[in-house]
Structure formats: C-alpha cells, structure tokens
Symmetry: D2
Subunit: 278 residues, 4 copies
C-alpha cells in the first residue's frame, strides 16, 4: 500500500518557488559578507584522458544573503540568547552549538500568506511604513484565513517587487516597510513556528535608520524562539492567490552558523488546487 | 476545503534527514575548494544601543561538498554538455546559464532506496567494488520495490557509515564501492530523474585511482540528463527499512553553478508509515 | 667587508608607508570581490594541554583591493594581452601563466613623486579632472625632478585624502581625477617601469561614467607593458616633500592572478635625507 | 645630491626571492583555511564597447599559508599575549587591534642565514630532529657570521627542498626538523627581531605529533615579542652562499589579523657581492 503522502505527491503537485536566485551583485544587507560565485575550473581547463572534463565552483558568502532564515543564535538581547543562554558562552570553539542553524528542523507545515499590500490596494507599502496589527487582522479576515499554532506566516508588503532594482530594495534613505514590535508580539501570541517577509530585514526599517534597531527580531528570535525568513519572493504566491499551502523549507545544516540561505516552496496538490484564495 | 497535500501533512509526517551536516574538516573531494565556516561577528563584538547584538557568518566553499547535487553543467564529454551544447560556449560571462544548478527544479518525487549492502549482508561493500546490474536487480527484488520512470533512486553501499572516519571515506588507496558504467546505463534505461549514493563520487572508484575516470558521470549527466546526488547519509533510511518514500530535494538556486550542497529528505505520512519495508 | 647596501641600511633608513590598511568595509572597486577578514579561531576557543592557544584568520578578497598592482594579464585589447598573446589562450587551466602577477619581479628602484595637487595649489583635483601632460611636466619642473627610464612614477591628485570617506573616494557621480590616454602615452615615452596614483583606478574616471572605459590601462598594460599601482596613500610622501626615493614593492606571488594587494614603501637613508624636496 | 640608499640601489642590486609562489594545492598547515585562487572574470567574458576586457581574481585563504609571518597576536599562553595583554579582551570587534599583523613594521634589516644542513653536511635534517644551540653556534662559527641584536635570523634545515613533494613537507608521521625551546631561548638572548625557517611551523615537530605543542612559538611570540617567518625558500640563499644580507619583508597590513603571507627578499649590492659566504 502506498504511503498517503506519496499518493498525493504522485497525484500531482504544483510548486511556487519563494526563493531568490543567488546571483553575484544581487541586493543584500551591507552587514554581511557579499555573495560571490566563480568557476575555478571551466570545461576545457583540464580534459581527462577519456575526453571528459569537469567544471566546478567556489562560493564565498555570508549566510544572511538571498532568501534566508535566521537561526535563534543570530540575535541576543542583554547578553542572552533565546531561553536565557549566555550569548558569549554559547559560542564553543567558534560555533553556536545550541541555537545554530543546524538545529532548525526541516519544515513541512501549513503556510499562510498575509498579502497586506493586496489588502491595502497598493503596489507596495511605502518605505518606513509599519504594518500594524490591524493591518494583519484585516488582511487575514479579507482573505478568509486564520493563523494557527505552528504555522509559517508570510507577510507581503509588495516591496519584494523592487528586488531587481538593487540598492533601493535594501532601503537606506527610504526605509523599508514591515511589521514592528507590535506585529511581532501578535505573531508570537498566535504561536507561529516561523515568520517571513518579502523584505531584507523582515521588520520595518525607519527611513535612513539602517539596521540599527530591530525590535521584532528581539521579540521573535530571543523572546519567543520563532524563526525569521527574509527576502522571500512572494509575488508569484500573491498572483496565484494562494492564502494557505504546504510550506517546505530545508535550511542548510551548517554546524554552528547563525543563518542559512534557503529556497522555500509553497506546494499544493493539483487535484484540489483551484487558484483561488482558500 | 483544505488542499489534499496539506491535509496529509497536517495529519502528521515523519522525516528522515539524508543530508550531512556541513562542518569544517569533514571529508570531501580534494578537487573542490574546502568547506569553511567562521563567525566574523560574535555576540558581544558590537552591542547596539538597545542592548541587542547580532552574530553572523562567512562561508567559503566549493559546491560539491557535504551532501550535494551535480548539475548537468558539471561534466562534459568530448567538448559537449548534455544535449550537445558546446561546453566552452555554454559558459557565458563566467556562468553556466543553460545547465547550471539554478535550472534544477525542486524535487518532490517518489524515492526508492536500493540497499545493496543490506541485500549482500555486509556492513559495507569493499573499496573498489563495482555494484553490478545483477546486484541492483536482486536488491530491488528482495525489497519488493520496482524502479519507475521519474523516480529518484538511492543506492546504499554502506560506505557512508565511514563518513565520520574522514580520509578513509574519500577512498584513495582503498578505492570506493559504487556502480560503474553498466549500473549507470541500467538507471538510465529505467528513466530515473536522479540517482544518489552514500559515497563521495557516486560511482565506483578504483583503488588508488582517484577521480580520474568517471564513466557513470558521463552516462548520467551528459548522455541521459540525470542528476547525481553524492555523499548521502542513507544509514537512517536503511535502519528504518524505508524502500519507498517521498523524496524532497531543493537545490540552492546558485545562478550558473555546477552543483549545490543539498539536504534531501525522505518523508512519509505517520498515518500509514509502518516502519517495515514497503 | 660589509655589503654596500647593508652598510647604508645599517646606517639608518626612514620609510614612508604608501599602502592602505586592509580593512573590512574600506572603499574598493565594485567590480572586484569585497575584502573580508575574519577569525575562525580566537584565543580561548581551543586551549592546548600546555596552556597555549592560537588564533587564526580567513581572508576572502579580490586582488584589486586596497593598494594594489595590476599585472599585465589584467587587461586585454581586441583579444590580445601585452606582446600580442591571445587573451583567451593565455589562460591555461584557469591561470594566467605568462603575464600573471607572479611574473612581476620585486621592485627596488628609483621612485618619483609628481605632486600635481601640490603644484596646482589645490587640496585635490576635482572629480573627473584629466591631469594633462602639461600638468605632469610643470609639476616635474617645479619639483626639480626628471623622470628617467626604469623609474616608478607616482602621481598625486590629492584625491587619496578622501579614502576615509568611503563611497565618495570610489567616484560614481563625481568622477575621479587622473591622467587620461595622453598622460599614459607620456609615461610610456619616458620608459617608466610602473606608474601609480592615489585613486582607485589610476586614470581619470568621467563623472557618472564608472569604470567603463579605461584608455590609460590599455596604453600602459597592453601596449607598453608598464605596471599600474592603484589606491596609493601619497599624503605622507607629499607632506615630507620627497620627490625622489627608493621605491620598494613586493607583489604577492599568486600564481596566475591578475593583480595583488601590495604595501609599497618609499625609503631614504637618514644620513642624507633632509625632508626637503630633492 | 642623490640619497645614499638610492645611489647604492641604482648602482645595482641582486635579489634572492625567499617566498614561495602561492599556488592552489601547495602544502600548508591543516589548521588553516586552504589557499584558493580563481578567476571570476576571464578575458572574453565581458568585452567593453572599446574592445578592452579585464580579468580578475577571487582569493580565499588563511593567512598562515605559503611563506608567512606570525604576528604576536597569533599565540597566547595561559590567557596572555606578549606583554601580558589579556588574550580574550585583546580581540575588539573581531580584530586583534594591539598585536595584529598590521602592527608589524616593514623590515629592511640585516639578515643572517644559519645553514645548519650545510654545516652538518646533510641534504636535510631528519624529520623530528631538534636543532640544538650547539648546532646553531657551530654553524655560525663555521660561516664566520655573528648574530647581532635586531637581526633577522633564518635557519635552514634543508627540509624546504621537500616543499614540492607536498604532504611529506608538512610532516605528519615523519615529524619536521627545527629548533626547540632551547634554540628559541638562544635566539631571544641574542635579541633578534625575527626568526625564520624553511619549514611549515618553524620549530621541531615530533614524529606523529602534529602541531599540538609549540614551545618555540611561546618563547618567541609570547615571551620575547619576536616575529616568526615560516615556509621560507632558503635553497637559493644557501646555494649562493650568502650568510649576511639586507633582509626585506613587508607584511600585508591586514587590520587585526594574526599573520600574513609574505614574500621576503635577500638583497645585496652587485658592486660588492662576491657570491662567497660573508
């Protein structure tokens, strides 16, 4: 007898890719080492006796680049990580052993899109706009979805459509829209497993303010133990009108690291997927 | 109405992780840049005015490290990539645009384990042992699984249990067990989508022979367009006796690269999973 | 009997450092991988049984960062490197074997400073200003120095004082001052061994023009085989009024690379150095 | 009037290169990130409108690779760096500000070769052989050189000729010859400025012992503040019979790093250089 999951998968699934391609020169936070990829060996550089050749790669990069997930070890508050661990002593031999990204279990969970820009009827929220609890609740209501314990909630400000513009996506003078401390508390009260957004730092960045103060990071990562996913591509999801889906995210198991580039997926069975908001 | 996939996922799934942790010093092919991870910023290095601090990472690595997937751009034969593309001209601006790893679609497919070591009743096949077509067929028959078009087939030689030993895993004087050209042709004839193994180069390496000749790579990547997954951890899968499962693999979308570290998963519904071989 | 050189050195020498510190975040050309330095191991991470510990580093960087030298392999024109070598075929196995930076002999030579900003009586030449042959000749005359065959000529625009400002140093909208094609031809006619400047690209960059067209690079590197040194710190040299000195430059012998960060020195015997322009 | 130093330099100097080429795959200590160099852009990848193109590099590497210098920040003993600085607190924001490699002044000093292998009449000292104080003194006497305060002393075991062999150079089972604690104390008592050797760790490594205990590092770096230069190529110097020379070493000014690859030079005036031991 075929496994129930495999049966549905073999019945056909449709996938929407929520991850950005990793490309040299893409916008990223200036706080992290730049993503670089190069080919040390190209075809023809060294041909084997049997006529074959192999090309290969060298990558050098921060982990908080492209679409990525923050491990709990990424942020501390008053010297403590989530659960009260001492932030200095948690680093053993140059690795965050306890709350590193290798401790994040792969996710196959209910995902929910809150398309705030869609609800507000704007192409994208303005730079520096704080998405309020009222915005989140009105969006959920309009979409007819509820946020449940264990969900992964993805918040669309529409700012992600600016990724291709480069520097403006990162914010700087304009700031970046997103939830603030209040929105993070709301997510925490709903017991979500992870929260994501289509912006570089998940939360609202004040115009000109850079990444100096990140209260939502403190609330989610330190106080609540909720993972954050950043720089998602939510345009396809919004266009398809998927409000609820299976969310798949598999972090790279980098021992002791504070984050990982990821390529999350939204998946639905083609047997039942209607293309309308659930 | 809930999507059929989400319904099964919310009913409960069990996941077996097939990916190796990415750790500094792990065994890897000497042909590729070594995996390194370090923390440029640790907690306490720079505390913000609000009492928070952020730690971050720098990674430098080849892409064919840890558990990883080979893109079709990885290997050429007589100057051609899969489909006859000119191997030199396929590199545009230092990127393999056509057959790069960014072109590999995420996989949610039927996965099949062929536990050759289990069938042969050995802890692991010897270094340099060529797994024959007869071995593959006898293993499948004994397990009661059939290989179908579009499957991902994972071949367990048992050699993967030596990963923790370091250098011996890579082979060198001992060689490494695996399929040869004949096994690759057999996989191709079954129309598999991807093939994987618990060894560093997927295919048999002759004792002392290094990675000089890789005929199975030629057959799979160049002639058939079948992806190869290497350095899988198949011990848990064999111990659980899963012969058939949903295989999930999401390559990092590195534009123009020849491969990507991956963390593949075997997943089953807990509603029906019995722990016995399917 | 003591060697004549050693005798002078032991009599006392004074050194002016012409190289920039390599620091994370320093201004650099956006065309090259960013300079990063981090400590994988800090003291205390792993203490040996005898009470000692060792800290170490990981660097990831382009070679055209900080103060650096361009090898002849850096630039081609119409498919040719200096001396007519085919630019594509000169790359063997991913290395520029013939004109790579490893072929640059260490320099202990006569160095000459042409302090154009000092001559013009400006703090720095304006962004986009082209330093003319007349400027170079008038500066040399005013300083009482002549440019001789085999010299290393350092051209000070004063722009180097802006290094600490970061982005403005790189130019962008403002452009950057420097010689153009005519100045490069003049240097070539004087048979100099290498030429340097206190700017990021040695030559004039038009306002808003970026690094799109670099005629002086073509003249010097391709046509004449003259090395170029960029991002020099010439402020101390100008302040000391040294017009003539022993120039010491030792490139890193990176096999097959197109450039190298360097730390050039101007050196004088303290027995004779007067602090006045020579 | 020409500066005395420049006068000698223009009279002609002969240089012996003491630095190893930096090549992918060269032997290096397994404790440090591997040296890698690759070309992200090759000629032809992107040709500008004027017919020119530029190739460039990406380097990723430890600093204790190739011929390199150890900064005082490299080693601590019982929690202290040289001068008693607290080893943990000396790391500010991820940089060794006080004793980092950027604090090493460029060297133009008297250099002395102690050709121990030459004195002992062996091709190279055996792996694990401890070069004694008696060896050092007999070598100096036989060569007719004295070690003076402020000198840079280079100790040749002959092991450097094995660099091209790869792994055997690093030692492992065989160990590596070099001075031990007693030799380091002797160097300290002579007040040398820096000490170098033609081996990977400067000091004797016991057969099979790896780099676990490094007493000479403690004596020189921590107790005496004497820099260590490793993996020198001393073959040319010994062949030329230079016992005394001007030693030129310019570390890369990497802010806060524990070491730097270097390319030291031995230089003599051709006017007086006789090719015989001084």
């Amino acid at each position: 007898m075929t496994d129930a999951l495999l049966q549905v998968v073999q019945g056909g699934v449709e996938t929407i890719d929520l991850g950005r391609q990793l490309r040299v020169g893409m916008p990223q936070s200036p706080n992290h080492p730049q993503f670089w990829h190069t080919l040390p060996r190209r075809h023809g550089d060294m041909v084997r006796s049997d006529g074959s050749s192999a090309a290969n790669d060298l990558i050098t990069t921060g982990t908080h680049v492209g679409t990525h997930i923050d491990a709990l070890a990424h942020v501390s508050f008053e010297g403590k990580l989530h659960g009260g661990a001492d932030a200095t002593e948690s680093c053993l031999g140059g690795k965050y052993v306890e709350h590193g990204v290798h401790t994040i279990e792969p996710m196959l969970r209910r995902g929910v899109l809150l398309d705030v820009a869609g609800h507000l009827g704007v192409e994208h929220c303005e730079g520096g706009y704080e998405i309020t609890v009222a915005d989140l609740e009105a969006t959920a209501e309009r979409q007819g979805v509820t946020v449940q314990r264990g969900d992964v909630v993805l918040i669309r400000s529409g700012w992600g459509a600016r990724f291709a513009e480069g520097a403006p996506y990162v914010g700087g003078p304009s700031g970046v829209p997103g939830v603030g401390e209040a929105g993070a508390v709301w997510l925490g009260e709903h017991g979500v497993h992870a929260a994501g957004a289509d912006t570089i730092a998940f939360e609202r960045l004040a115009p000109g303010g850079g990444h100096a103060l990140l209260p939502a990071h403190r609330v989610l990562l330190v106080e609540r133990g909720i993972y954050i996913v950043e720089a998602l591509d939510l345009e396809g999801l919004a266009a398809a009108g998927w409000g609820e889906f299976t969310f798949v995210l598999v972090p790279m198991p980098i021992f002791g690291a504070t984050g990982s580039p990821v390529r999350p997926l939204a998946v639905r069975s083609t047997a039942t997927s209607t293309g309308a908001a659930s």
